[in-house]
Symmetry: D3
């Protein structure tokens, strides 16, 4: 397959791409045509179908994969595919992983690493709670493995929620060594659960957008409630332990203005906020550097609120 | 009974007051004495027991009511009771209502007015939800009637939560007339439920302080969860309706920095925030004016962030 | 008359519309044409006059009403009138109310309701002051009835200032019932006068833009000064009463950063700020909902600083 | 006369001082005494009158000058006058200038310098306006010369308003040379008038406190209104010129959060804000350095939000 | 030479202009052309070279001066040069001063005025330090005279750093007269040195952009370090004096959020911040007024955070 | 030796303590006495010397160690030593480590661990730079080992700077494993050097207070300059590498308002800020928990801006 990032003017195209967005437009002469954004995991390209209702042009919708035949041209300095034929593909004809952003790490290996950490939790109530989510709740497991951690910012790919969760949890493991006042069982449980509400806040790919309840309630409150429901099902789960765990979830954004209804009151909640923030910033910078076109100064970056530079050490 | 606000230098005292706080102190000579704050519903007064371990002086603790015999003196310009005898009273000897701040309105009348509003809710799911709390849940009802709405600020008295809830709800009723785009059933239900989490956030009088879960989770998240649990028990409760109602609860402080994890996204949530804010400010100003000693300028007030003046219109 | 919101591709147009804005542009061939925005009270539409200096095309300027003959076409997905003939109309040929945004409520009825409230003010000085503006000052009355309450945000239409004033005043009437510490005469007078400076801050429609003094001084300071001038003409008007009334005007935006040079120091000023803020937010949300194209999520809204959703309760 | 700053333990006192504040207090034995703060222009000292209702102790109130006979003692490391006799003085017995803070510069010389600047204003309307205040309005002139510029911060002394006004005006004169785009007549007029509202915002010494209208309206709005009234009395005063002048007054605090209802829109308003801010900061630092006890670091200063140091250049 | 600001449709062009930016673009037909921005000191104009690889069209790059032959046309309401011939010029063929923004004042005269101030510094260490920079360091002098004071905002022209420095220094001279507590030698030295780091923060014209070290370290820290290095080379330079001077440099932006790592602790640092701020605002407003097209309201200005108006006093 | 934290009422005291602060006070009778704060590494206690100028009471000053003979009493609920004899000790009579707060970790072991990390730096210039400080500069090494990391907040003890530096460096080592885009040599060098300016910002114990240059320049700018000086002495040190390292130092507080004149532009600077912030917060919380008197809620904490709770997991 020829990936979108490798296309250049004059190329013939005869490959399957995903339709990210289709728009019906009108020329100055009043004739309708399709303006389509095609995507694969390497990027997107504009495409035009000038004769949308003719033979060889199937009907298709957003997120369909279509087999495209056409030619790459250049318009106003940007590449464009002039589509001659477009056939809607059936599931099985293509490998979805080629069309959607996905973690560069192996999802099952990461999940097993997470299960290993869970098995090491000493407090029986906390370990049982984690097992209820990560071993016994099949629907949850499926969603958790596929979810991204965000719509647009860091870890915005399939497996992103798992990758972020594992990274935060391992950072917390390091913290427990460096700062022995931390309660390891509580902190690691909080780390593993801190973003579980995201399986309900964001729909899965290819949509990967906020759900209604995601917008109305947010992953922080939903994650807190999910823990409350599971804990209620565990005989003898200590009330105070549950509250401290839920507090870690509620406070993990660290500040009211970032959507936490509570600021961290216990050391584990402070640690979780630091680990979450660290992984978010390190991953965001990593993704920035992955997309660098030219080394050196990269211009102003809104997230870091300053100009960004790709380090040079020769 | 002689109320604390009416005591003056030279008065003999022979009445029952509540011990708000007892401190064991030492004179310069190393002799122990009790420094006690006595309270009734009209205020507090300092009292000294110079011979704490003598006959006629019972052992007692905070929130006990004690029968005090002594004399009012003046020290450094403030009144003080010099206590000669102090007897710990048993329940039944005194009327608790005399010793704790309590709403100036009739609690049962207010509650009936609230029930009347509930009976007018047209949407069957919302009305059923309200009935589950306010008609069927006896424990909740008991707590709701006795709770204050705050530890220190406005409505910090027995029945305060009910009084504030009713006032906000009636303001919302007015809003529905003035702004017909508002959905009345949703707004009134949200108004009635907006602070129900406070029955768990604050302990009852005479303590009236934050509970552990109050500090860890807060009344906003707890109220949201209480609605989730009750709604789950109502057959066919529409999911989207539940989310919008919970959103109103989560967003009712209006801003992240006031502890709301979501800002209001629907018109009813905006209206609820305005009604809550209005009642808080009007009641706070009312309580300020109730405590004015001299008319005119009252000095700087932290809540209103400016100097306060008692209006004069002759 | 065919309203702009009802036009569709292919329609013949032969009606009078107002020229909101005329731009002289040049085609790639260097030929001049007019690009005109036409408006009526239902909206605006783009129009092109390709032969501006030919017969059948009158000279006209912004805010002129012109009799247009042409055809509706579609360009880049938006409608456009291809104008063949354009005749400038004289006053009398058209009903101005058809071309400008206007309150959906009857202006005279609202004004009478306001007069009714004024007649109920008990304090003779305050009532006299209101009568000087709203009964005796013909120029002021004319402006007050026609003014909008804003250039772009809520109540930005003819009669908007009156509609907003009445709504705020009625809300304050409700407040006086709910919070008896409020001085009703002072609060209602302040509510009625709170935005009177807007008759000088904004010019009338069709311009509806800031005047020089509006920009230099603002409606808050001008309204305060207008009260000072009128009060000076009333024998025996109590100085302190005047200051408290002016304070309510100065403080009605509630915060320095919203342009109030004083924060509210008296309960009536706090109440007026709450009523003004409530009406502004409720009307803004109402106007948003009036313009909803598709139910559900409406995207990010700058005023409310969050995503907005049209409530659904079935 | 022996000034307060020169008193030391053991001194006999037989001089006239002003009573800044008298408090009736009670000893532990229940006996009343007076705790009095005496002041002269060099400072204040605590004084006790142990037998207030005896012969030789007149009745007196705050701001009275009293002839004191007594002895200086030391209590808790601070000096204190033990008063034996206290006689209330009549006007004429003492020189008020000895008891109140006053500008170190000659008030009449400063005023004449200001008049000289006024006589150089070329624009006839602006010069006429200034003459109406500073030459023709005798009451205003009296107040303007005596007023302080503040209750507590910089220029808080008799003549302080004049001294500050002159300093700002001369700074603006310099600006006009350095930045020729500035309109000199407008800027100097605005500088001279920028704080005239303070003659009504603050009462005169010895009280020097906010008046009711000072608190309700503030000197910015009152100064703007005073200009409006005077300008209305000058035939043909150009409306736009008046608005620009008033704008300079309204905007001279520069930011909304400092109480300006408008931010500076014209270059003269920007310049006035800079001159006012510069003089405020330079005078505040000068007063700080005048009060330095030990050179070097002076601790944290709230106004400058950092630790302050007295410069050393040897 | 015909300046860009004087060109109009139909003009023939046969003059030398500087290429500010050259972009290689493609027509719809896939043919490459050059889209060039030409500049002289009066402004910029768009130019098109439709046949870039033909005879008569030299190769050239950004900041080259080229001899252009062509015709002025109008496209979409903006002027454009249709270039027929373009010849790259050699140094010497043109006067660079015609193509770059340059101070309207004489650079050598300003520099001499600065040297005069330096010669008046009484403290031998401070004068010696200034001489090391402004008399003995030839490389520094060359850069200092040519540097702008900014990339985009005020004083963004050749000689701008010198002009700004001189203006700030003279303002400080005035301050020393008005506020005698200021140490003149220290303040003037700090004023002269306050922006010397800019000779390393910004590259010279025509580039005038941030250097690497400018972005990594900033002119404040670099200027502080430059003083440290020079002072280390002066025998006996008092350590405390050096620290106070460096402190003035570090603190001259006045607030942390403007990039100062220290807030002003000494009176001279406060004064320098005020002078720098004043000159920045006055010059910015002056440049705004220099560019006014139509008198009156100039729309919202980001730097002043409000609408700007060109003062009218007739 | 009997440590201060173990003293109780009635104890005889005959041990050496350090005089933290001596105040000469006066009794009501006008008699002078000394009010002294004594300290050892476990805490402080109040002491009174009622006969300061008698036999058996040596003269002594702050930070002297004195041999105290007296008795522990209780005053107003706090312990107090009634001192009978006080002898000023000479160096050698006592072990200073008993009287000053000191790291609970072995300083030489920590230093060796740091040297081990330095020896692993691959880049020859960075390793050489570190060796210049940490191996070759004996004065620096002495200061670095003894310095605290702060006057009042976290790591405010002897060895605190070293302990904090090592902890941040090890955290950065972990980051390099987790986020492979980080340049390990640069990040570890920056971590080791990030607070070196503190050896000049704070004087050593027992004073441990800000120096003049600490207040004027701050450890961030001084640390940056120290690197500049050392790098200038290393042949061929790459200019860009030096700038990036200095940038990490300048930006390590992360935000302007925390005193960083630059925000982090490279990934290593972001990482360093996160590591520094993490160690500061974890150590602060650890020190809080070390000082907990009663488990549970610890009241409002200014640094964490919320109520703090000691985690309970049973």
């Amino acid at each position: 397959m020829k990936f979108i990032k490798d296309l250049k003017t004059g190329d013939r195209v005869a490959d399957i791409y995903m339709c990210k967005h289709k728009l019906i437009a009108t020329t100055k002469n009043g004739k309708e045509y399709y303006s389509v954004t095609l995507q694969d995991k390497t990027g997107t390209i504009d495409a035009k179908i000038w004769e949308p209702y003719s033979d060889g042009i199937d009907e298709f919708d957003d997120t369909d994969c279509i087999d495209v035949f056409g030619e790459v041209t250049s318009f106003n300095g940007a590449l464009q595919i002039n589509v001659k034929r477009a056939r809607r593909c059936r599931e099985g004809e293509f490998d979805p992983a080629l069309y959607l952003p996905v973690s560069s790490k192996n999802i099952d290996e990461m999940y097993n690493e997470l299960l290993g950490i869970i098995s090491g939790i000493g407090n029986p109530y906390l370990r049982k709670l984690l097992e209820e989510f990560f071993i016994n709740d099949k629907d949850f497991i499926t969603l958790f493995k596929k979810s991204s951690a965000a719509k647009t910012v860091h870890h915005g790919f399939i497996g992103g929620l798992l990758e972020h969760t594992l990274s935060v949890t391992k950072l917390c493991t390091y913290f427990c060594t460096a700062y022995p006042k931390l309660n390891k069982d509580l902190l690691l449980t909080a780390a593993i659960c801190h973003d579980i509400g995201k399986v309900r806040e964001l729909s899965l790919f290819p949509v990967n957008d906020y759900t209604d309840e995601g917008q109305f309630l947010g992953h922080i409150v939903m994650g807190c409630e999910m823990i409350g429901v599971k804990a209620a099902g565990i005989q003898g789960f200590p009330e105070l332990l549950k509250q401290q765990l839920q507090h870690c979830i509620l406070a993990h954004h660290g500040e009211y203005e970032y959507g936490s209804p509570k600021k961290p009151s216990i050391m584990e909640a402070v640690a979780l906020n630091l680990a979450d923030n660290t992984d978010a910033k390190m991953e965001t910078f990593t993704e920035l550097l992955d997309n660098v076109q030219e080394p050196g100064w990269q211009g102003f970056n809104k997230f870091f609120e300053t100009n960004i530079y790709q380090t040079k050490v020769d």
